[in-house]
Symmetry: C2
Subunit: 203 residues, 2 copies
DNA sequence: GTCTATATACAGATAGAC
DNA sequence: GTCTATCTGTATATAGAC
């Protein structure tokens, strides 16, 4: 599996990629120079260009690497009622964001600033988001036809609302210092606030 | 009030400031060069340094200028019941964000990225936010003592929740293309979802 | 106050030795 | 593959004429 001439060829490439992914996520595209990456990865600038040709391509490769752990395993939804399933999805989403704070924060600020948004990366992220929302919408629709949720529910809109609230809590969490309540408490409150409204009994 | 030598001295300074504020908000600190600002404001680079010494100081001055319209007039709250007051505050917040989309979006991405955050600017913005949240918390607490809202309410936490949901809706709105529902519809849904829970009757 | 011309630094990128 | 040395562009900032 190794190269004939040099044993750690792949490792240098990997180290550049890891370092670049970290630095880009921490300081953004324009705030990160090839020289910085080279210094931090302990290689020469030229080597970075040897592997990645341009700064732009390095950036794209680094982002793609960052996306690798972006998978949410939705396993244990069976055996729960509709409300329980949605609650579990909310928890999974919060956990996911928590495990990827730095990169999620970075993607968010990337999209907000609107510059240097490789299309494929944006697509992956927003697809993940949409899958999640549709999952919730489907559960609501299913619960509706089973008579658990009322006809006043609008699956797509209610799912979007839950996601929005979730986003808000997590964004506030990013801004931490100034925003008092901790995420766990807020997530619990979110469930208590939004889910009862869906049930058929009241309204 | 004019200078003896040059009639439009102040206007050049103002033009630089306006232009810088716009460009910084559109492209960020690192993506905006003094040369760009000079070209867009139709003055020489040197003049910018004459007035503002360094790029950093120009940035700070531009941000301070951006903050000037950051005032929310809370006038017509009297004559409404508690729920009506909160609904009105939600509308005011949404209107405010809508009238300042570009700069709000910019401040958000600035805080998220964590770099180039002049302390005084951050303070102003987060103070505005806190005032708003406390206003809602006070209304909830007042409604509680008047018996309109139930004892299960937690004024600070419920206010934070409302603000979080509001944030989420508005952030989703920034990301527009990928996120289906329009802000007005979501705001209406937000009121319908969160406020009934506060009332004493149910629960 | 406003300009042109310039100093200085560092960015991205290339050439070529090993 | 990995390096040193260098090219070229552009950034912030300054000097000095008007």
């Amino acid at each position: 599996m190794g190269n004939p001439e040099s044993g750690d060829a792949v490792e240098a490439r990997e180290k550049i990629l890891e370092t670049a992914a970290r630095l880009f996520a921490e300081h953004g595209y324009e705030n990160t120079s090839i020289s910085q990456v080279a210094r931090a990865a302990q290689v020469s600038k030229a080597l970075i260009f040897w592997y990645f040709d341009t700064k732009e391509k390095l950036y794209r490769s680094a982002l793609r690497k960052t996306l690798e752990p972006y998978i949410i395993a939705i396993d244990d939804l069976d055996g729960r009622d509709e409300q329980g399933q949605i609650e579990r999805l909310i928890e999974l989403f919060a956990e996911f964001v928590n495990e990827n704070v730095y990169s999620v924060r970075f993607f968010l600020s990337m999209v907000l600033q609107g510059e240097h948004q490789p299309d494929d990366v944006i697509r992956r992220v927003s697809e993940l988001y949409r899958v999640f929302r549709n999952l919730i919408a489907d559960i609501i629709a299913g619960g509706q036809s089973r008579g658990v949720f009322g006809q006043h529910c609008n699956p797509q809109l209610d799912a979007a609302m839950i996601m929005a609230a979730l986003d808000g809590v997590l964004v506030q969490n990013f801004l931490s210092t100034e925003f008092v309540h901790d995420a766990g408490e807020m997530i619990a409150h979110l469930k208590a606030s939004l889910l009862p409204r869906l049930l058929r009994a009241d309204h």
